[in-house]
Symmetry: C2
């Protein structure tokens, strides 16, 4: 039964007052069923009264600047660490905001510094006694008396944010001139909650035509500290971390709830803050849990108002998403009807699709209709090519869409910017059609997935499934791996060390992946000192499991090894502590190995982890560079391991990973059904409707052969970035 391909619907268009004709023309052309406003645009009556669902964005914490100005003691806060100052005399003066963006931050002089702040000797790492320093609020400086000479000192202090970060970004990026700076209020205060609920109710009353209230997002932005513009624009950014949720009131409530007090240093963490890249402490996880409970509870009260007004509530899974934890247990209690994720890549598609407890999943496509992109590169301006960008992003996103269902797509920004880019308009039209086709296939049943269960082990586990800490970071091995995984026909889950300790390795796991740099949350840091972890994984591999380690898997200098699973991997890394211990010569194994069968030419992992040596003759090196193993495989008991010295998301490496999963699982004989001969192409087979989708991920024409379940081969020709749907 051929799927009915709809030409309209499932598309959200950003409308723009003053460009009504354009708005309605493109709504028709792109088959929109909904029109939205954006931060910086409004919709006019002519648009609102046309026959479209109206999405209206709202960001409650920056909604009413008058209230914020009248309640500056209820602005959102965070801890900052001052720049270090070396003690050269009998006192040290530390200018707290030196190097920070003074338009973003203002020192909190309301809450007692002696109670909430800390001064550290960062030479020794010791806190300075509270009676040894004073705060001069007029000058915004802290003075340390009788410091240890030549040591360096920092202050952890509370700062109010006097310019809401996303609004600040939009303001500066789009040159909003002297438009008033919006300030973020903190819903932790009962007064703020009362104000917000009242404001929201009024807003709902005033937006009768709005069908969908899009929260952008809830209350707390990801961490984003800006710098003194004469020095550096940004100082710290982490899409997943909780620094911006802090206030003395919340910390007091935390102490009551959890039975112990946090300090400023729990958030400042020697200047590293609570970055998602770092292994979270139990204390940080407690704080996240506490904030999550609060955000879900108060968020629910807001969403209830939306529902009571007969509207739907969607959440934007970016910006102020901190505290919502869409992959957490509480998320379903929040009551959102939809979740919108801004995407460049397949892994973000999976991130959005995998959230439980929300009905509608929507992808906001890049590029945004802004003059410049996230890195400041030209987009809708001279030198930009937004159509090319859109095609490339779509090619990545589409890999994920073959595997998981998504309900809607859409755009954001200033619609009028597309006027000079007709190729972009055509490209989006093409994309909307493809999207509807793919959506229809999923409605009729899931695509074929190989009987292969992969668990990615990180310190975060499910909480940061698909390793979401921001947009794609090139060169971070685990990002590159998840992007490859996101388009493969295998089952993928993310587990933590605590999961293993509490529940063991999930039943039926075929392959475990651990990747990243030593000391990071991705590799696992000191979790690898826990013998229970070593025992569990070693036993599991001995019984047939497959372990794939990439970069510095299980790395943590401890006892006699650097890779704590060196005995499984068959390799370890020389970091300079055993330089004079001679290493075995690496002689590459002869004959082609299953995992390398589709590789052509040199293997390019981008950046290789160097100084990898093999431990014994059983370890088979498949690739090496300058005497360091790039790829090695090692048997252990009934299982086997694979080591890769790095990873970069390329067609060849994705195939290498695909084959590695099968080989590590001991299932390489089962590799074949519904795979493509050409690594630049992917396919998905939908058995219910007997349809085969084949996509070309590259910008060149490609020919590929698909192996079906009977080992028969189907040849397909594809245009650049093309797609073919074949009835079988």
């Amino acid at each position: 039964m051929p799927a009915k391909i709809t030409k309209k619907g499932d598309f959200t268009l950003p409308g723009e007052a003053g460009y009504e004709a354009l708005t309605l023309k493109l709504a028709e052309r792109w088959g929109a069923d909904a029109i939205r406003d954006c931060d910086g645009t409004v919709l006019s009556d002519q648009i609102i009264l046309a026959d479209y669902h109206i999405y209206s964005t709202i960001c409650l914490v920056r909604a009413d600047n008058e209230w914020a100005k009248a309640n500056r003691d209820k602005l959102q806060q965070n801890y900052l660490m001052s720049n270090p100052v070396v003690a050269e005399k009998d006192t040290v003066e530390i200018d707290l905001l030196n190097g920070y963006f003074r338009d973003q931050f203002e020192v909190n002089t309301n809450d007692d510094p002696k109670k909430w702040w800390q001064v550290f000797d960062r030479t020794t790492g010791q806190e300075v006694s509270k009676d040894q320093w004073t705060f001069n609020s007029a000058k915004g400086i802290v003075i340390v008396d009788q410091p240890e000479k030549w040591h360096k000192y920092t202050v952890n202090f509370l700062a109010y944010r006097i310019w809401e970060a996303i609004s600040m970004y939009n303001h500066i990026t789009n040159d909003w001139g002297d438009r008033e700076h919006q300030m973020p209020v903190d819903p932790v205060y009962p007064e703020t909650q009362k104000f917000i609920l009242k404001y929201l109710q009024k807003w709902l009353d005033m937006h009768p035509k709005t069908r969908i209230v899009r929260f952008t997002s809830l209350f707390y932005n990801f961490a984003w500290f800006w710098g003194d513009p004469s020095i550096q624009k940004f100082r710290y950014a982490d899409w997943g971390s909780y620094e911006m949720t802090v206030s003395p009131l919340a910390m007091a409530q935390f102490a009551e709830a959890k039975g112990y007090e946090l300090t400023s240093e729990d958030f400042v963490n020697k200047g590293a803050y609570c970055s998602s890249h770092n292994v979270p402490s139990k204390r940080l996880l407690d704080w996240m849990d506490f904030m999550n409970a609060f955000v879900v509870e108060f968020g629910r009260r807001c969403i209830d108002l939306v529902h009571d007004a007969g509207k739907k509530a969607y959440m934007f899974y970016d910006d102020h998403w901190v505290g919502t934890e869409p992959w957490g247990e509480r998320y379903r209690n929040m009551g959102f009807d939809g979740l919108i994720k801004c995407v460049f890549n397949a892994f973000e598609t999976r991130l959005c699709a995998g959230v439980q407890g929300v009905k509608t999943k929507e992808l906001r496509l890049h590029p945004y209709l802004f003059p410049t992109g996230l890195q400041g590169e030209p987009t809708f301006m001279e030198g930009g090519d937004p159509a090319r960008d859109a095609r490339r992003f779509w090619a990545n996103i589409r890999r994920g869409l073959l595997r998981v269902p998504i309900d809607r797509i859409g755009l954001g920004g200033y619609l009028h910017l597309v006027e000079d880019f007709p190729d972009f308009v055509n490209t989006i039209e093409q994309i909307t059609r493809e999207f509807r086709t793919l959506k229809q296939l999923h409605i009729n049943g899931s695509p074929y997935t190989a009987p292969l269960k992969v668990a990615v082990l990180t310190a975060w586990g499910k909480r940061r499934s698909w390793v979401y800490v921001g947009h794609f970071i090139h060169g971070m091995a685990l990002y590159e791996i998840t992007e490859s995984l996101a388009g493969l026909p295998v089952e993928v889950s993310f587990i933590s060390f605590d999961d293993i300790l509490e529940q063991g390795i999930p039943v039926n796991t075929d392959v475990m992946i651990n990747a990243g740099k030593a000391g990071t949350a991705w590799s696992g840091g000191e979790h690898w000192k826990n013998k229970k972890i070593i025992e569990a994984i070693t036993e599991w591999v001995a019984c047939g499991g497959g372990f794939i380690g990439i970069g510095e898997p299980s790395a943590c200098q401890y006892s006699s090894q650097y890779f704590q699973l060196a005995h499984l991997l068959g390799v370890d890394r020389e970091i300079g502590l055993t330089s004079n211990i001679m290493k075995l010569d690496i002689t590459l194994s002869e004959g082609e190995h299953f995992i390398l069968e589709d590789m052509n030419g040199d293997i390019d992992f981008g950046k290789d982890t160097e100084n990898i040596f093999i431990l014994g003759k059983e370890t088979l090196a498949l690739s090496e560079k300058n005497g360091s193993a790039k790829i090695a495989v090692n048997p252990f008991g009934k299982g086997q391991s694979i080591y890769l010295s790095g990873f970069k998301f390329t067609p060849e490496n994705t195939r290498l990973l695909h084959r590695s999963l099968f080989w590590a699982a001991g299932k390489h004989k089962e590799y074949g059904p519904w795979t493509c001969s050409n690594v630049r192409t992917d396919c998905a087979f939908y058995p219910k409707v007997m349809k085969l989708v084949v996509i070309n991920n590259s910008d060149t024409a490609e020919i590929t052969k698909i192996i079906d379940a009977d080992e028969k081969s189907i040849e397909v020709s594809l245009k650049p970035h093309g797609i073919q749907i074949i009835d079988l």
Copy 2:
């Protein structure tokens, strides 16, 4: 007064019985005044009775194999760590010598394993209780009962060495077939001492013609553990470490002398052993001190016999030099008349020349008259070019010889091998002439040295001056640096962290250098956690000192920084713990900096330490690669620091270092007198005799200009590897 250039003398020739005519012909041609035997060669009467001083080699610990065979319980020993074995069942069996060369080692079954050995769970790093394991001496295995399943276990055990390492190397390298394996006896036993003294006396009596007794060397070889030849030839080698000095008797004596007991793990050190690359523990330094006292004391008794016999005693500063510590305080008490160092490089020249308390310094030149070199490369055989090798080594060595006096040079090996290499014979003739010329200049007074005092800071300090842990290791930054330093007209000393703690930074030090990988003895490891060190160096720089950090200087993740002197260097390294903290953009400073004035083209440090970021606007980046600083300079107080991301011994980098020393010292205006315009050339001015020596270090013809003390310039043309001596 022109120096008298002698055509004879100061040269030691290796003679060879059966090649008497060749021996005497070459002795004449090369101007030898002494003829020596070698391990593997003897001198005949025809040679001995010719008019040359006779050098005879003796190695007391392998001198009499009959005595060794009759006293196998007095063979030398060492601790080995067995290969790790993962516990898969209720017991673990560990084959102790698995993977080791069974011709070199034999398990010591004489001393109680339960007293002297240790078994470790290397998964947790914990020792296994002694009643949990048993030793099966018949099988040479240890059995651990009820191990923790899936953990890995190793045994630290004592092994006798049944083949003396240097003799073994010579035997295997030169194919000695079934010649008996010489075994090393340990002079720690009173019986061995008695035997050795008696043997030596008899030997002296039997060698009336011997004028110089060359000890090769004393009692304990540097550590050299060989592997099962089917797996790997060598397992561990360290030219400066003490693993081969161990025995239960010595350990018992140590406990008595120092008041505490060492364990096997003090030597095995998690399998890293006591490598010179690792920061020595206080316990290791105590052991070295204890052994040094013993070696000096018993060595002195041997040397006294030599002197009583009217002969001179020379020591070979390689092979069995461990325990003698030529740079230590006790060395002068030993009474050696001469010290012979085998050299490839300038730093080894400085190493030999700098030893106090011994009159005659002699260099043994490479290549040895062996078919193959130290790395197994062809030398005196087809494919070898020993003349080219000799010229290259000499060009390096000569840089050092310009700075410091050496008394003699010589060769070693099988003389007959030179017969097929007439170019080598010519080259050595040329080298002997040059050597005598240079020696003569030093006799008339020291060359000009700039008023610039450099202290190289390592965990070893003076003990491992010139970073002697073996032959030149390419790519180890500090080796490459010392090789550059060895030819520069500045004063160089080596200091330790303990020196700074005990005596402060040496008075009048202009520049301090710290270089190497984090965690190594060269960089300093955990010494950098000591606030007294940070205070001392910071204050010293604030008062005008110059700090040069290379690679990972002051590196040790601690408190909020990786480089503990980041505040001086103006840079730090991102190792993955603060990835989301944004770094300042590196914009190269405009205009040429003093330290780069003689650089042409790209700066090549070989391997760069990556991810180096600058801390503030005061830090001036002079070179960068992929956004990581390669060269940065930073002011602090009255002083300044320079950071280099790596170092390779090249003419350009040597000049960069030379200029950096002056700039860091704040003396760049004093740079100039007696420097060469051409970086491939060096010069030395001998003010007493008003002679200027100019050398060409390269194998191409070069023209260079020398700036004299009055800033006048002298142009000189040089042949490949040429030398010119100019009267001023």
